[in-house]
Structure formats: structure tokens, C-alpha cells
């Protein structure tokens, strides 16, 4: 896909769509389109988190291994959302598995490439961090609510 096309795709994604043009250009240099069939894994726990995903279509299940209880799906990430922030936080390792539960189209952004650009241009880095902080906050709120087990009496 041409860079012009990637810019259009990025513009349509809520996470980065309203970024200033020069920042979008920085992102385009680190982005590529990816596609996963149902059942394919986008990432595995413990592996190097050298990228993250902006989901365009489909749904990814976040899985954790719960010892003898086996795999547990604790969240799904869908269109317009972001999968992964470990690319930003040392030691840059995935903390969960990500499995496509429906055919997924996404943009993947090279974490190392983006970190370098964030280090060089702190305004850009701050902008990315602000956006990711919003993701952190909403995930934390959702996790708190899940922990409350509001529907359960057991």
C-alpha cells in the first residue's frame, strides 16, 4: 500500500485520526497494514513487544494463562481501539496473548521506530503518551469494574 493510502487509513482511526499532519507523517513511516484470520495470534505473552496494533475491523481477544485453569479471555479489542502498549515500556515484552476471534484488519506500528521518533520529537512523544494514557485509563476503569464482579453473588 502506498504511503498516501496509509495516511488515509490512519486518518480514519480514532486513536490517531485527528493528529496534526506532520505527526501523521511520522506515524506513516512506522506503519503497515496487516490481516489476521480467525484463530491467528497477533502477539504472544513474553515475546518482544516490537509493535502494536490499531484495529480497523474484527475483534481480538486478550488472553492470559491462569495456571491450571488454562487460558482465560479477559477482554476483546475491536474496531477503533488499540492493542498493546508494551512497546513503550521497558523491557518491551507482551504481557498477554492476542487472538483474532473474528477476521482482523489492522495497522501495525513498529514500536522501536516509534520510540525513536518520540525520543527525537518530544512534542510528538507527549502527544502519543497523552493518547495512550487515555487508553490506560479506560482499560483500568473497565478492569476495576470487572474486578467488582457486579453481577455475581457467588
Amino acid at each position: 500500500m502506498q504511503k498516501e493510502d496509509l495516511t488515509d487509513v490512519l486518518r480514519k482511526h480514532p486513536f490517531v485520526g485527528d493528529l496534526e499532519k506532520q505527526y501523521l507523517q511520522l506515524l506513516v513511516g512506522c506503519a503497515k497494514n496487516v490481516h489476521f484470520q480467525e484463530g491467528e495470534y497477533l502477539c504472544h505473552e513474553g515475546e518482544a513487544a516490537d509493535s502494536f496494533f490499531l484495529i480497523r475491523t474484527g475483534r481480538v481477544a486478550v488472553e492470559i494463562h491462569a495456571g491450571h485453569k488454562g487460558k482465560r479471555r479477559i477482554q476483546t479489542v475491536g474496531p477503533g481501539e488499540v492493542l498493546g502498549w508494551s512497546w513503550l515500556i521497558s523491557p518491551y515484552r507482551w504481557h498477554f496473548d492476542g487472538c483474532a476471534v473474528a477476521e482482523v484488519r489492522a495497522l501495525t506500528l513498529d514500536g522501536k521506530c516509534l520510540r525513536t521518533k518520540c525520543d527525537k520529537d518530544h512534542d510528538f512523544g507527549y502527544e502519543m503518551l497523552k493518547r495512550l494514557s487515555h487508553v490506560f485509563q479506560s482499560r483500568m476503569e473497565a478492569t476495576r469494574l470487572q474486578l467488582l464482579d457486579v453481577y455475581g453473588t457467588r
Partner: protein, 287 residues
């Protein structure tokens, strides 16, 4: 005392007198939630009528009473039903009753979902857990006059796929009545292909015409709190948001004060409230 006054006196007395009804059928929805269908067991001739969102007091003789939402179609005579979460003495006793067993029923009580006000609007129904039960009569009412409403969205969350109520109906509603149904669960194994996460997160996947949408919300209070924050963030005006509240009830007619919620009584001022009427109370931990 004039005729009206006499009528009022009668109303004050009659609401405490249960009608006798018998269990027609019990359907287990999940491993701890069941629906009982009731039929008349006494000599009252009048058909039992109610509005969507109202509740009854069900009396298990020798055990006690419990306030329970009606979950059946208000426009389908003779099908009165309650979907009940087995959590205490009375609900456990109800779960063990057999066809033909008789209980006392007082009601219907309380306010109703604003079905008429939804005319011409999109309707966004948000339910969590057993909260889908009091919203089911509202859905049935909307389906009766489907063309009078715009989009109908149902966002529904439960603990796990096994805890989902009305699983067959959820699919039927989507196909037969053009309802956009989004279901999410808090956790699951890999057999579940749907959404996993809390109910408010489902708003990420829908687009709303906020000014032309009315929202009806029922579920655990903390879930409603986060849901309403999300609804307001989407731009739906507070006066177009309705929610159903729950408190322990005793008399159900506003005498005893068990269900007092600030200056309101859930039993007679609610359970369905317009959000502006209780927004100042909603996040107060003391109430």
C-alpha cells in the same frame, strides 16, 4: 367522605392484600436464575395488567415477600412471569416450587419505562445481568409498534456466557425485530466469540444520534453509574435517560420507608426514574 375519598381509602387497604396465583411453569435461564410463569388461582375476574418496568411483591406463605420485576409481555394476557435471581430465602423457596403451588401476589407497583415518550426516537436499552428482566417487557412493547421507533439497540452484559438470560430470544430479537444486539461478558474461555469487557465499553462500537435517542438502563448500580457517564459523554441529554433502581422493599406502597432513596421512595416514585430526578443522589455513597 366523597366517592373519590372512599376510593382512596380502599386503595390504601387493598394493596396489602395479595391475590392468589399458582405456578404454571418454571424455566431455568442460568444455573441460579429462573423464570416462573404464574396463573390465577383465586376468584378475581379481572385480568392482571401491568406496565413495562413495574414490579410485584411475591409472597411465599410462611417465608416472606420479595419485590420482583415483571419480565413478561404486558400486552399478552395470561402470561405473567417473573425472572428471578436465586439469592435469598424467598427466592430460593420460589425456585423450588412446583407446578400448581400457590403464592401470594401484590401489585403491580411502581413507575414504568417511557415507551410512549420513545415514539419516533431511537431507543438504546442497556442492561446488566438480571437487569435485562425488567427491560424485557419494554422490548416487547417496542416490538408491538416497531415502526413507531427508529433504531433499537440493546447493549447487554453478563458475568459469563453461561449467565446470559434469554439466549434464544436475543437472537430472535435481532432477526425478527431489527434490534442491534451487542452482548458482552466479563470473562470467558475460548469458546466465546463475542465481546468481552464491561457494558460501557460497548458504546465504542455503536454510533448514536444523541439528540434523537432515548436510553433505558437497568443493572447493578455501579454498572449504571459508568454506563450513564458514557451515555452523557455520547451527548444524550439527561432528560432522555431513564434508569430502574433497586432497594429492599417491604410494603411497596410508600409507607414503611425501607426503600427510601433520599427524598424518594423506590417503590412508588420509582423504580423507573428519569435521570435528572435522581442524578444528585446517584453517586452519593451514603444513600
Amino acid at each position: 367522605m366523597n366517592q373519590t375519598a372512599v376510593g382512596e381509602v380502599e386503595k390504601l387497604v387493598d394493596p396489602m392484600l395479595p391475590q392468589l396465583m399458582s405456578i404454571r411453569k418454571t424455566v431455568w435461564e442460568t444455573d441460579d436464575t429462573f423464570t416462573i410463569q404464574l396463573e390465577k388461582a383465586d376468584h378475581y375476574d379481572a385480568e392482571f395488567t401491568f406496565l413495562p418496568g413495574q414490579f410485584n411483591m411475591l409472597y411465599v406463605f410462611g417465608m416472606g415477600e420479595s419485590a420482583l420485576s415483571i419480565s413478561s409481555d404486558p400486552l399478552k394476557p395470561g402470561t405473567l412471569a417473573h425472572t428471578i435471581h436465586r439469592v435469598g430465602t424467598v427466592t430460593t423457596a420460589l425456585s423450588q416450587m412446583k407446578r400448581g403451588d400457590v403464592i401470594g401476589v401484590r401489585g403491580p407497583y411502581g413507575t414504568n419505562w417511557p415507551i410512549e415518550k420513545a415514539n419516533g426516537l431511537d431507543v438504546c436499552i442497556v442492561a446488566g445481568g438480571i437487569g435485562l428482566a425488567p427491560l424485557r417487557p419494554a422490548l416487547y412493547s417496542l416490538f408491538r409498534r416497531r415502526r413507531d421507533y427508529g433504531r433499537i439497540l440493546l447493549l447487554y452484559g453478563a458475568r459469563s456466557p453461561l449467565d446470559l438470560l434469554y439466549r434464544v430470544e436475543l437472537e430472535q430479537w435481532s432477526k425478527l425485530y431489527d434490534v442491534e444486539v451487542l452482548v458482552t461478558v466479563d470473562r470467558s474461555d475460548s469458546t466465546w466469540k463475542g465481546y468481552i469487557g464491561v457494558v460501557p465499553s460497548l458504546f465504542m462500537y455503536i454510533k448514536l444520534d444523541a439528540r434523537a435517542t432515548i436510553a433505558m438502563v437497568c443493572g447493578p448500580e455501579v454498572m449504571m453509574q459508568y454506563t450513564i457517564a458514557e451515555i452523557l459523554r455520547r451527548g444524550i441529554p439527561p432528560e432522555q435517560i431513564y434508569l430502574s433502581m433497586e432497594r429492599n422493599m417491604n410494603c411497596a406502597v410508600g409507607f414503611c420507608g425501607h426503600c427510601q432513596y433520599g427524598p424518594k421512595f423506590i417503590c412508588k416514585d420509582g423504580p423507573v426514574f428519569g435521570y435528572p430526578h435522581i442524578s444528585h443522589l446517584f453517586e452519593k455513597k451514603e444513600i
